[in-house]
């Protein structure tokens, strides 16, 4: 018998370690698990109920619900029906949603990135806390406040800037207008939305930038980099996908915003790419606009529109979360 064989024989088989949870623990885990499922249940229920109510319209309109530019209900709110068949298409509103959200992102995100860089790398520590507080406070402002402020305060200035843009950059098709009507344009709605997404994008960019590995920052400085060349060589490449995620999160917020957009936007059913012209739309504000005097059939169409909005924002948000989580995890 060799030594190895002897060892094998004498070695006791490892005891299988199990824990038998007490009844109290079982109940505790079951209760907590049920609570934790609430988010799954609610999200599923939203999709199911909106889909159920909107199914009739979605089935009838088919793809033209997304691509059609017309929204016309044949049944009036008092029950009388007119002769033309009703047509429901949210194409113009979808385009409007994307246009206003893109304006918001292209104005808000550069400002947010700059603010995040300032707070992380430039701000004296004495005012950093104060500035972070101010930007966080902005995130807590209710959206109707932005609507009211946007309508009363920002709109006059916004119109003035729109006219300036048109005057000097009108040769670019984007800043051209077919009629000189600058009030309540997608540009102004985009400005309000840009201000609304600044806090969320800033806080995400700040978190992402703060995860930059310190040794890389110090290595850049040791090689003689100035602050800006350090940021460009280390911080921005590191935070890139996280910041893109933050921007998408802002995009999702801007797409779903209702009250603030409704107060500052002139809702017209046409595909309008002239952002300075006072005509636009947004799926959420369409729902608010039509809900008040909608017939039973139109309500179903609005549910279908709500479902589209829900799916669109959910998709954008999930992509954004994936991007942000990836960057934040790989940090320090």
């Amino acid at each position: 018998m060799t030594l190895a064989e002897a060892k094998q024989i004498n070695a006791p088989t490892p005891r299988v370690i199990t824990t038998k949870p007490r009844t109290s623990d079982k109940i505790f885990r079951a209760v907590i698990f049920t609570g934790a499922l609430s988010s799954l249940v609610i999200l599923a229920a939203i999709a199911i109920f909106l889909g159920l109510r909107g199914f009739e319209i979605l089935a009838r309109e088919g793809l033209s619900f997304i691509t059609g530019y017309e929204w016309y209900s044949s049944v009036n709110s008092d029950g009388t029906a007119s002769e033309d068949p009703s047509v429901y298409g949210i194409g113009a509103m979808l385009i409007g949603t994307i246009v206003t959200a893109l304006i918001a992102v292209s104005i808000g995100v550069p400002i947010s990135i700059a603010a995040a860089l300032y707070l992380n790398f430039y701000a004296p520590s004495s005012i950093r806390g104060f500035l972070v507080g101010v930007i966080d406070l902005m995130a807590a402002f209710p959206s109707i406040l932005f609507g009211l402020w946007g309508f009363n305060v920002l709109m006059p200035s916004g119109e003035y800037w729109a006219k300036l843009l048109h005057k000097y950059l009108g040769w670019i098709p984007l800043f051209d207008v077919s009629t000189p009507f600058f009030s309540r344009s997608p540009f102004i709605a985009g400005l309000v939305l840009a201000i609304m997404i600044i806090p969320i994008v800033t806080s995400i960019a700040r978190e992402v930038f703060s995860q930059t590995p310190l040794d890389r920052i110090q290595a850049a400085y040791a090689l003689g980099a100035t602050k800006w060349s350090m940021i460009r060589a280390v911080v921005l490449p590191f935070g890139y996908s996280g910041v893109v995620g933050g921007a998408m999160l802002g995009l999702g917020r801007a797409m779903g915003e209702t009250v603030a957009v409704f107060t500052v936007l002139n809702i017209i059913f046409q595909a309008n790419f002239q952002i300075l012209l006072g005509a636009g739309g947004n799926v959420a504000s369409l729902i608010i606009l039509k809900f008040g005097e909608a017939s039973a059939e139109e309500i179903k169409a609005l549910m279908a529109a709500g479902l589209m909005l829900f799916l669109l924002t959910l998709l954008v948000n999930m992509l954004a979360d994936l991007l942000v989580n990836r960057t934040v995890k790989q940090g320090r």
Partner: protein, 351 residues
């Protein structure tokens, strides 16, 4: 005698790194150049108004600071200085709306306030009545009732989600964390539409405060869950292990050790959740009906709320109703800011 000698011989503290008057001359010239340049830009070009003046200060500062840095330390330093002033300017631009919003609300909101504003409702007043008639008592009460109900629903659900993610770490933790994050991006209008489509539509049930509170709790849940998760993650692992080592079950450990240790943080989570929903308007438009009369019963009849009152005043469009909207939003803003600052205070005390 000895004392005076020591005071006499005591050497002055020296700061050799401090810039001398001579070194500061370029800085002084720079400030002067910025002032002159700003004046010239505002005077001779289209940069009129507050924002124009701001823009011209930024342009001049950028040029002058990068010139000064470049003169003594080369091209990279010039670029660095220019970027620094642009980033500072954009940061100022980011906080400018906050100042403008707070200022406007304070100036315009105080005009519509009077004592009766808090003690009467709009039952006998129309939105176009003069400002000393009617108030938002019904809205304050309605908002309060709905917040209480929404808190009662979403705080237990949110905290149990957080406990599942941090304490139990059972199957599907990653999926649930992901879904909670996705849920926090659900547009508020969708929450309202969902309650309308699942409860109100086609059932013969009318608008009331409870449905509004349900819609609000959908929006509140992810905020509470995410903040509570962060708070629970900060609790030291030693505490949990100590609890288990004493022979406690997991249930006892969580209930007697972890949750009490995280109490102030969990309250912060609740407050942040309330701040999130206090000003939500869109979901209430589909669920509460927005009454004008004080209604204490959330299960029967339309119920007003501060955001809905602002909405009504805003869309009616007269000067009086506009003033009333500003006064109401001042009340709402004060409420939100009280919540926000108490949450921050609690958060600071924790760290």
């Amino acid at each position: 005698m000895i004392m005076s000698a020591t005071t006499l011989n005591y050497p002055k503290p020296q700061k050799p790194w401090k810039p001398k008057q001579k070194d500061l001359i370029p800085t002084y010239i720079g400030i002067l150049a910025v002032l002159v340049g700003t004046w010239a830009l505002v005077e001779f070009t289209g940069f009129a108004g507050k924002l124009g003046a701001f823009a011209s200060v930024i342009i001049c500062t950028t040029i002058v600071s990068s010139f000064l840095a470049g003169r003594s330390r080369g091209r990279q330093a010039a670029k660095n200085a220019a970027v620094a002033s642009i980033i500072t300017a954009l940061t100022l631009l980011a906080i400018f709306p906050v100042i403008s919003i707070l200022g406007t609300v304070l100036v315009r909101g105080t005009k519509g306030l009077y004592v009766g504003f808090f003690t009467t409702d709009m039952g006998l007043a129309s939105v176009n009545d003069p400002l000393n008639v009617g108030g938002i008592l019904h809205a304050i009460i309605g908002t309060f009732i709905m917040i209480v109900i929404a808190t009662l629903i979403s705080v237990p659900l949110g905290i149990s989600t957080a406990i599942y993610l941090t304490e139990i770490r059972g199957p599907g933790s990653r999926l649930i964390r992901f879904l909670v994050q996705a849920m926090s991006g659900v547009p508020s209008i969708v929450a309202g539409l969902f309650i309308y489509s699942s409860i109100i539509s086609g059932s013969g049930r009318g608008f009331n405060g409870l449905w509004g509170a349900l819609a609000l709790s959908i929006l509140m849940l992810p905020t509470v869950a995410r903040t509570a998760e962060e708070v629970l993650l900060l609790i030291a692992q030693d505490l949990r292990e100590a609890g288990l080592a004493l022979g406690a079950t997991q249930w006892r450990t969580v209930a007697m050790v972890v949750v009490p240790a995280a109490k102030s943080g969990l309250i912060t989570a609740m407050i942040l959740g309330i701040a999130r929903i206090a000003g939500e308007t869109a979901p209430l438009l589909f669920t509460t009906g927005g009454g004008d009369v004080t209604n204490l019963n959330p299960t029967d009849g339309v119920m007003g709320s501060i955001p809905y009152a602002i909405w009504k005043a805003l869309i009616s469009g007269s000067a009086e109703s506009n003033a009333r909207a500003w006064a109401s939003i001042l009340v709402l803003l004060v409420l939100v800011m009280i919540l926000f600052f108490s949450a921050r205070r609690l958060g600071k005390a924790r760290r």
